[in-house]
Symmetry: C2
């Protein structure tokens, strides 16, 4: 008996030939996709669970390439203000007091719920208290590449970068055989980490054969400061330290010179574009079409709930398509199919996991979403790619399967109860608002 059989499915495979199978069947045994095709060939197979997907699109789960999931507890706390005020008067003071292991647990659970219910089955994170987030991923059966944030100064979880790096090393080994969670080093950025810390992170990643995750050239201020300090752009500076001599996931990359782009292509740097965050914080527009032309793998990310304020990848796909068209003055730039690729198979490549997920193919692990396309805003159907990018929203997702396990079925969480987490999150928010009032009264 197989585990799951999905019948009557409109299957978007996102395989290399972009096959679409109408009225098909998909079988899962344990965590692996074992069949995709006509149902008649497998009609004799019995399954533990049969899902009739009539009226639904079946596609690979979306991949969020850059976020800070636990910051979901701060969502909507501080908006519509310049970056400096936002960071110095709101984010930093609040995090310094409220970024505790207990709150990270609640924030991560909240963020992962939001991701699952909007069709994300894997995310690359950068934050503190990584072991806590890893536990939540295991509890919720969420796939993740968890970057342990490492900075020069005292962080919420470690007093020194040396401690952080040492612990990260242990964590990488501890999780090396986990089928869902991978821990990786995440030196925060070239401007918050010393040369020594950056080099130590690179060494650690290479020793363990994992990528590292880092913020790169997010703002013009960072770019100009790097030029002033090092006479090098952020990309050139990192390159000069050998930071790209190994697998690298570079988030943002908004300010990228032509020479930077050549370096990134040569060094096979992987990029995560976060268009909504970059717009909301007025960081700028990453030259994504040029990066893709240079064969640099690029995927999309939401960034955190504080700078977005949503983890819905459908929204991110649409805004990415629109802003890059506008920025290049070319409506043909980044057509819908390319955008979907950037959040499925292409994103898996960016994260270095395209051999196991990112498309619906026999032998791959089963990260699958069912999306209800039998709704007024998704009818009629001319092009499924157009609908995914321009008309769908997270809430159209009906069912989510991660690594062969149904985690969300007909809009209901199967492994967690959201109510308790939502209550806990509001209690934290109330405390944050009270402290803010107290600070303002001082």
């Amino acid at each position: 008996m197989i585990s799951i059989k999905i019948t009557n499915a409109y299957i978007l495979t996102m395989n290399e030939s972009f096959d679409i199978i109408e009225n098909g069947c998909l079988c899962i045994e344990n965590n692996i996709i074992t069949y995709i095709g006509d149902e008649s060939a497998v009609s004799h197979l019995e399954a533990h669970t049969v899902i009739d997907a009539q009226g639904n699109l079946i596609m690979p789960g979306l991949i969020n390439g850059h976020t800070h999931a636990a910051m979901s507890i701060y969502k909507g706390m501080a908006d519509d203000m310049p970056l400096k005020e936002w960071l110095e008067h709101h984010i930093f003071p609040t995090e310094s007091e409220f970024c505790t292991k207990e709150n990270v647990e609640i924030g991560a659970r909240l963020g992962i719920m939001e991701m699952i219910m909007s069709g994300t089955t894997c995310f690359a994170d950068m934050y503190y208290f990584t072991p806590t987030i890893a536990e939540i991923c295991k509890e919720m059966n969420m796939r993740a590449l968890l970057g342990q944030a490492i900075l020069d100064f005292k962080a919420p979880d470690f007093d020194t970068p040396t401690q952080a790096i040492e612990t990260t090393k242990q964590l990488i080994h501890e999780y090396s055989n986990n089928s869902l969670v991978q821990i990786i080093p995440a030196p925060h950025s070239p401007y918050t980490c010393s040369e020594e810390v950056l080099r130590a992170c690179r060494q650690l990643a290479n020793d363990c054969d994992v990528p590292l995750h880092i913020h790169v050239s997010e703002t013009i201020a960072e770019y100009n400061t790097s030029l002033a300090s090092h006479n090098l752009t952020p990309v050139q500076y990192l390159h000069s330290l050998g930071m790209f001599d190994g697998k690298t996931i570079a988030a943002h990359c908004v300010y990228i010179s032509d020479e930077d782009r050549q370096i990134m292509a040569q060094q096979k740097v992987h990029v995560v574009n976060n268009p909504q965050s970059n717009m909301k914080l007025v960081s700028g527009i990453s030259p994504v079409p040029l990066l893709l032309q240079a064969d640099i793998p690029v995927c999309l990310g939401t960034d955190s709930s504080v700078s977005n304020n949503s983890l819905d990848m459908f929204q991110e796909m649409k805004v990415a398509a629109l802003i890059h068209k506008l920025n290049q003055s070319d409506a043909a730039v980044l057509p819908a199919q390319d955008i979907v690729h950037m959040c499925t198979r292409g994103a898996a490549k960016v994260l270095g996991i395209d051999h196991i997920v990112g498309s619906l193919e026999v032998g791959k692990q089963a990260d699958i979403i069912l999306v209800n396309i039998n709704q007024p805003h998704l009818v009629p159907l001319y092009s499924i790619y157009s609908h995914i990018v321009y008309a769908m929203q997270g809430h159209d997702v009906d069912t989510v399967i991660i690594n062969g396990t149904i985690v969300y079925l007909q809009k209901q969480f199967q492994l967690v109860d959201p109510i308790e987490t939502m209550i806990d999150a509001q209690i934290i928010a109330n405390a944050i608002m009270q402290r803010k009032t107290e600070r303002e009264q001082q």
Copy 2:
């Protein structure tokens, strides 16, 4: 006995002092809001329908300031291509064959369903076969300002602009006492209407004391052609004809010079910004913050489902906030509260109906939406405005009341069955795709 009592409500009034009432009560008698406040004062009143709004936000229904609802049947038909190819090879040939009264009926029903389920309770439309669309609005109890499209050349519904203007005059009178639908003239644009047609439309609007709805300065090509032909910008040209001597709803206004802006402020021109359409078709970015600074009323619109491809105003609000911040290099531009205003009370002003809708106030007509805010992506709550603009999506809408009638309750349409319309729309789409194949084979 009153009609509807909504209890346990988090009420965002959008009145002049932006009052928010927590755990309040709202009463409706027939189509009018008769009470907003503490429940204890009206606990003695019995209601025909009581809605327990626990966990929901109650706010004014959103207003879509510019769309072509019936084009919903073309949604996703032609994307990711330059405007000229899009119009000449896809939209025009398809419309010339498929824009029939029967198809407009299906398209309008489909588009209005999408609007209602995503919290829109009123829209300003511009299209053909206005009487048909008006009938659908009455059937679905949707509020609308329906602009009868008028052009120099043969249109799907009229052979000549003279016929169109004459019929529009009759329609305006026919609907002058309708509580939901108002018909207005909609000369398509300064470049598709002769001076005579434009002037006749202005005269008609003024004679009937209604606004006119027109596309203005949407693309740089239009702007430059106007300069070349008239030695005037589109705004200056329309002004020179006296087109702003009366109530005007000007859609797009992407290319607006400083002098244009002064004219628009003096002449009290009202503007509809359509950021997603303008991005997708690479038209550009309207200088909305500058228009608002000049005291020009501006609201948001989705434009049609072919150039967006969604009628969800929540999405439009977020993208508007993001693109105008980025364009002005100022994260403080258009804060969330201003954006919500632009789609409620501010939009009602743009459409000239702010005396009857746009806010929740005693005496106003009851256009109200209930939004489920007890969901992971909307928890915790710091600022309701931030959540509405940056975190909410159309599908969070639970219940919609228009003019005192519940048209959508707990995500179910009350007056129409969406299934039949969705089937009809797909049949049209299949015919369109078949004709396209035939054309390509010729």
